[in-house]
C-alpha cells in the first residue's frame, strides 16, 4: 500500500523517487514512419546518461518528446515526476533543453541572448547579474559578451546555447548532440563542462553519435532505429556483448582482411589504421586457428592478441544480434 503511493520506505519506493526520467513503451510516428518504437528509458537522479546512436536513430525525436516539443503517439513518459501526456507545460521549468541545431538569436549579442532566456525563465532580477556573469566565465565567453551570436565560432555557439539552458539552474538537462560539428579541443572542453555539472549534482541526458564519448558517461543507452538495444554502464555494455575482440597488427592488412573474413567464428572485421579488429565468438579458442591460417597464407604480422572491445564494436555486435533476431 505504502509502496503504491510512493511514500513508504521500501527499496522500490526509493528507486522510484530517484527516477527523474522514465518512459514506458514510448512511441512517436511521423506519418508512416515509426521513429521511436517502444522506448523504455530510465534515468536516475545524478546520472550522466549518454543516449548514443547513429544518425537517424531517433535521438533528437526522443529528446523532443521528453522536452514536450512533440506529441507522444503511444506509451508514457514522466520527467521530474510529471506526466508529459497530461501536463507538458509543468515539466518546462525543471528542464534545460539544448537543441541539436544552433537555435539562439543570431542578431542578438551573447549577453542579450542570456538576458532574454533569463526573463522567459523568470530568473529574479537581483539574481540575474551574478548568474549571467558566472555562466559567462563558466563557458569561457566573458570576453565575447557583447559579440553578436552570429559571429561566434561553432564551439562558442554551443557553449552559449548551453549557458542559456543553464540560466534557470534546471535539475535536469537534455542536451542534443552538443559535441557534433565542433573541433576536438572544444569537444573536450565541452565534456569537461558536462562533467563539472554532473559533479554538481545535475542529472544530464546527452545524445551523441560518437561511440568514443560513451566512456565519459556513467550510464549509456544505445539507440538504433527507434529502439533501445542496450542500457547499462559503459564497461558493462562492452563486457556483455557475447563476443570478443582480437587485434591483429600487420603491414598486409588488405590481404589479411580478406582471409580473416572467411575464418570460422569471425563475425566482423574492422580496420583501425594499420591494425584489424576481429569480432569473434571466443577469442582464446580462435587465436590458434587464425595464427595457422595467416602462416599458411604467408601473411606476416607484428602482433595478434585478444583485447577489450570498444563501444563501437559493441554497438555493431549488438545491432547484428538484433538483426538476426528480427530475421528469425
Amino acid at each position: 500500500m505504502n509502496e503504491e503511493n510512493g511514500n513508504g520506505g521500501g527499496p522500490a519506493a526509493a528507486e522510484r523517487r530517484d527516477t527523474v526520467i522514465e518512459t514506458r513503451g514510448l512511441a512517436r510516428d511521423f506519418k508512416d514512419l515509426r521513429a521511436i518504437d517502444g522506448l523504455d528509458l530510465t534515468v536516475r537522479r545524478g546520472e550522466l546518461f549518454g543516449l548514443i546512436g547513429p544518425d537517424g536513430a531517433g535521438k533528437t525525436t526522443t529528446l523532443r518528446l521528453l522536452a514536450g516539443l512533440l506529441k507522444i503517439t503511444d506509451g508514457s513518459a514522466t520527467v521530474a515526476g510529471r506526466d508529459l501526456t497530461r501536463e507538458p507545460e509543468a515539466v518546462k521549468p525543471h528542464i534545460g533543453y539544448m537543441a541539436q541545431r544552433f537555435s539562439l538569436y543570431a542578431e542578438l549579442t551573447v549577453m542579450e541572448n542570456l538576458r532574454f532566456f533569463s526573463e522567459l525563465y523568470d530568473v529574479l532580477p537581483r539574481e540575474r547579474g551574478e548568474r549571467t556573469d558566472r555562466l559567462l566565465s563558466f563557458a569561457g565567453l566573458t570576453p565575447f559578451k557583447s559579440r553578436r551570436a552570429e559571429h561566434l565560432s561553432g564551439g562558442m555557439k554551443k557553449k552559449l546555447a548551453l549557458a542559456c539552458t543553464l540560466i534557470h539552474q534546471p535539475p535536469i538537462l537534455l542536451l542534443d548532440e552538443p559535441t557534433t560539428g565542433v573541433d576536438p579541443v572544444s569537444r573536450r572542453e565541452f565534456w569537461d563542462i558536462l562533467t563539472e555539472l554532473y559533479t554538481g549534482g545535475t542529472t544530464i541526458l546527452v545524445t551523441t553519435p560518437y561511440m568514443d564519448e560513451a566512456d565519459r558517461c556513467t550510464q549509456v543507452g544505445l539507440i538504433y532505429q527507434g529502439q533501445l538495444i542496450r542500457c547499462a554502464a559503459p564497461e558493462a555494455i562492452r563486457a556483455g556483448i557475447g563476443e570478443e575482440l582480437i587485434e591483429l597488427q600487420t603491414d598486409q592488412w588488405r590481404k589479411a582482411q580478406v582471409v580473416a573474413e572467411d575464418l570460422p567464428g569471425v563475425s566482423q572485421v574492422m580496420t583501425y589504421g594499420d591494425s584489424l579488429h576481429l569480432l569473434v565468438d571466443a577469442a582464446e579458442e580462435r587465436l590458434p586457428d587464425i595464427e595457422t591460417r595467416l602462416e599458411e597464407e604467408g601473411i606476416p604480422y607484428r602482433s595478434l592478441r585478444a583485447t577489450r572491445p570498444r563501444m563501437e564494436e559493441a554497438f555493431i555486435s549488438l545491432v547484428r544480434d538484433r538483426e538476426r533476431e528480427r530475421l528469425r
Partner: protein, 371 residues
Amino acid sequence: MSLRHLKAVVLKEIRHVLRDRWTFILVLVTPISLLFIMAYALTVDIEDVPIAVMDHDQSAVSRNFIQQLSAGEELDVVARANSLEEVERLLVDGTIKVGVIIQPAFGEYLVGQRGLRLQVIIDGTEPESGTFGMEQVAQRTEAFVVRSLPTGSAEWLRPIELKTRALYNPGLEPRVDLVPGLISMVLGLPALSVALALSREREHGTLEQVLVTPISRADLLVGKMIPYIAIGMINVVAIPIMAMAAFGIPFRGSFGLFFLVSIVFLFAMLSMGTLIGVFMRTQPAALALSFLVIFFPGFFMTGIFYPIAAMPDELQMEAMLLPGTHYAIITRSIFLRAVGLEILWPNVLALAGLGVVFTAVAAFFFKKRLG
C-alpha cells in the same frame, strides 16, 4: 499572461527589426516608397482614356451621343470601328482602353424609352483605366439621356456606381480617391512582416528554444505583434502627411479618429499575418500565402480600384471579411468627406471583430510544439 515575458519578446523583436537590414527595409522603408510608386504608376495614364466607337445605328441621336462622349477631357475617341473584330484588335494592341458599341436602333429605343442599346467593352488587363473609362462613358450616357428625354422620365436608367466618385471627388482626379485606399494596402506590409517573423523563427530553429521555456502562447504571439503595430503606427502618421504634401490630398476629417481607427486596422491586419505565420513553416511559404490572402485580394477586392458594388454577390460577402475593405471605406470617408464615428462605427466594429477572430484562431492553432 506575464508582463515580463511579453516585454522580453517585444524587446527582442524590436532589436531584430533594427538590426536585420531586410526586415528594416520591409517594415519602415518600403511602405512609404510603395505608396508613391503605386500612386504614380496607377494614375499617370488615367486622364485621357483612349476609346473607340462603333456606330451601328448611324442616326442623328447616335451621332449626337458620340459628340457628347468626346466632349470633355477624359475620353479621347481615337478610332471609329466598323466591326467587333476591329474593336477587339484595337483593345488587344493597346490603342484603346474602352470600346463603345452603339447597337442598331439605339436612337429609336432611347426616344421610345424602351432601353439603352449600348455595349461597353473594357480592357480587363488594365482595370484602373478601364474602369475609369467605363465610368466616364456611363456618366456621359446618363447626362445625354437625361438631356434627350423629358424631365423625370429617365428614372429607369440607373448606371452602376458613379455617384460616389462624382460627388466627393468632383474633379475626378483618380489620385485623390486612390491614395486613402492605397494606405490600407501599404499597411499590409507590417502584416507580412509578422507572418515572416513567425515563420522565420520556425525556419531558423529559434522557436524550438523558446517553446521549451514556460512562456505562454498568448505572450509569445502578442509579443511578436506589438512591435509591428508600433512600426505600423509610424507609417500611419507619416503616410497621410506625405500624401497631403506630395499629392495635395485633402485631409478633411479628424486626424485623431484616423489614428485610432488605424490602430484597430493594424491589429486586424497583424492578426491575419500572425495566422499566416502560425501555419506556414518557411518564409517563402508565408510570403506566397500573404500575397494570396493579403495583397492580391487587397488590391482587387477591397474596393480600392474596383467598385465593390460591381462585384458578384459572393465576392462582395468575401470582401467584407477583409480588413482592407472596411479600412478603405473609413480612410476615404475621413480623408475626403470628414465623416465621423457616428457613420463609420459599423466598419470600425467589423475591423475589431475580424482582429479578435483572427487572433483567436491563430492562438487556437498555435501549439507549443514542433511539427
